[in-house]
């Protein structure tokens, strides 16, 4: 009797899981469950969108950076983010989705990006806070993803991790300099940290019980560690760094747990998290509006480049008499 398609699929899925369990890397043309492919496209494209949208809150301060060194450093950082977006879109494309499709989904509000970028950057100190906290959190997440089971994603992560470290150090240096500066600079730094701390903790996502995708992704070694584990690791890194800068964190419940050897922290306001994820953060509309405008206004440029090349090829073909 012929095996039914679902029998064949079940067999392939067992073989696939065995590869995963053996620690093998999955490459673009390997067989994979449709759900695995879908989840990866979702993760990689959202990650790419986050890099690109993430250019906006910091880009907001490039023109006003208060020293040449800071101007150059910030521009280099934001440029890196564009590069990271390119790596990630490239990695996602290996699974059969085009850059155009992904951009369309972003601009239509269908595909998401990290909610942290829906918060406004209000002062120069916010640039430091983003570098130290947001990039710091991203590094914790990305270091874990460098071991993800899907090859192109893991390789993109390795590149990104190598470049990301300077972002975090730059952010730390900006804040530390402010903290040691005039009283106004110090107040500016503390205010920025107060506003960015909790949203950064939310970046790691809801607690694992409330997270629909977590279990599946961990089973496929797409996401080797849980949201809560990563969040804890980040807090444990950040608390001594804040102390080193001479700034406080806006959490009265922050306490060292001697037994578990970790920092216990207060309750996250998950209502705020969901509100912002669902589109009601302060900058949600504006971020997408800016991206839409850039995309629309750029269309004639993209078309011109394509047209120019088409003409060149036609001329070359005509010469050969084809």
């Amino acid at each position: 009797m012929e095996p039914t398609p679902s029998d064949k699929t079940a067999e392939s899925e067992i073989a696939f899981q065995a590869r995963i369990d053996a620690g093998e890397t999955i490459e673009p043309r390997d067989w994979m469950p449709e759900r695995y492919r879908k989840q990866l496209v979702r993760m990689m494209s959202q990650h790419a969108h986050s890099e690109v949208v993430g250019m906006l809150p910091e880009g907001n301060w490039i023109t006003r950076a208060p020293s040449l060194r800071r101007k150059i450093g910030l521009l280099a950082k934001v440029q890196d983010e564009a590069g990271h977006g390119l790596y990630l879109y490239g990695a996602a494309e290996t699974l059969g989705v085009s850059r155009d499709e992904m951009i369309d989904q972003l601009l239509a509000g269908v595909s998401k990006y990290s909610s942290i970028f829906n918060y406004p950057t209000l002062t120069w100190a916010d640039v430091g806070a983003i570098g130290w906290l947001v990039d710091g959190a991203a590094i914790v997440n990305q270091t874990m993803l460098a071991k993800t089971s899907y090859g192109p994603y893991a390789r993109a992560m390795l590149r990104i991790c190598a470049e990301e470290n300077f972002h975090k150090r730059q952010g730390f240096e900006i804040l530390a300099t402010l903290a040691q500066g005039t009283p106004e600079q110090r107040a500016m730094a503390q205010d920025a940290v107060n506003r960015w701390w909790w949203p950064t903790l939310m970046m790691f996502g809801p607690p694992d019980e409330a997270s629909p995708h977590s279990a599946e992704l961990m089973g496929w070694k797409v996401k080797p560690k849980s949201n809560d584990e990563l969040r804890q690791r980040f807090v444990d890194l950040a608390v001594p760094q804040a102390k080193a800068m001479g700034l406080t964190l806006p959490d009265p419940e922050l306490r060292w747990d001697e037994e578990k050897r970790q920092w216990r922290f207060g309750t996250i306001d998950w209502q705020e998290f969901w509100r912002v994820v669902r589109g009601d953060g302060q900058m949600n509309r504006e971020r997408l509006r800016e991206r839409r405008r850039a995309h629309d206004e750029g269309r004639w440029v993209r078309e011109a480049a394509e047209a120019h090349e088409a003409k060149r090829r036609a001329r070359a073909a005509a010469k050969i008499g084809r």
Partner: protein, 257 residues
């Protein structure tokens, strides 16, 4: 004033001119951040902005040192008013659309390459070694801006229309590139720089050749070219740009960042 002092003063002023060109143009390019027509161009424009801002830092640092009034590159960048800026009018023009930005860049890059190559032979050692680096970067920038000029000039009807319009608007600022004044004459005599008029021919040949290749009409030379940037007589846009650029630094005078 001794001739040595005079030379130093002139070099300071000359460095300021070159430095301001790069600071203003680099800043203008950085304004594209997050809004480029395609992600790949974010990187390219960002790169050029970085190169120019870095060059500006070196030149302004040098200018401050030669001037001998204790002003750092940051002091010069963030605490001078519009009338004290010495950049070309060409580079302060607002970005406009991508065609305008590319046209502005191309006209400057073609000039910058010839200028830098000539300065490699400068009698002033620091200026000469700066020029060696600048020439390499200018060559790479020119390659990029020239290719885009060709793509947009020879792309679609719309892109050609926009590029033609951009060239038409910018051409009137190109005369200033080749101006001589007493300062330049003194530096030529001191064999530190050469006569910029000598660049005009090669520059025209390069740009007119590119326009022809792109299928663009060469703009007509106006009766009178805009000038004044080297004397601090700028348009209104630069003042608005500096208000933005200098706002945080000026809000906290004397602060470290």
């Amino acid at each position: 004033m001794t001739s040595e002092n005079r030379l130093q003063r002139d070099l300071a002023e000359y460095s300021l001119r070159l430095g301001d060109d790069r600071l203003v143009l680099g800043h203008r390019l950085s304004e594209w951040c997050g809004h480029a027509p395609v992600l790949e161009e974010e990187l390219a424009l960002g790169n050029f902005a970085l190169d120019l801002l870095d060059q500006a830092s070196l030149l302004l640092e040098s200018a401050g040192r030669l001037e001998g009034r204790g002003r750092s590159a940051d002091d010069l960048a963030f605490f001078r008013d519009v009338t004290e800026f010495r950049n070309l009018l060409l580079v302060e023009q607002p970005n406009g659309d991508f065609a305008f930005t590319i046209a502005r860049q191309y006209l400057f890059d073609a000039f910058d390459l010839h200028l830098s190559v000539a300065l490699e032979a400068s009698g002033d050692r620091p200026l000469a070694s700066f020029a060696v680096r600048a020439a390499k970067e200018a060559a790479y920038h020119l390659r990029h801006s020239r290719e885009w000029l060709l793509r947009l000039g020879g792309g679609t009807d719309e892109s050609r229309r926009r590029m033609q319009a951009a060239l038409g608007e910018l051409w009137i600022f190109t005369g200033e590139l080749f101006e001589t004044d007493d300062l330049v004459r003194r530096l030529v005599e001191a064999r530190v720089v050469f006569d910029p008029e000598a660049l005009r021919g090669p520059w025209r040949e390069e740009v007119l050749g590119t326009f022809a290749e792109a299928g663009l009409e060469a703009p007509k030379d106006p009766a009178w070219m805009q000038r004044g940037g080297r004397d601090g007589r700028h348009g209104e846009a630069l003042g608005r740009m500096l208000s933005d650029m200098q706002s945080v630094a000026r809000a906290f005078p004397g602060a470290r960042w």
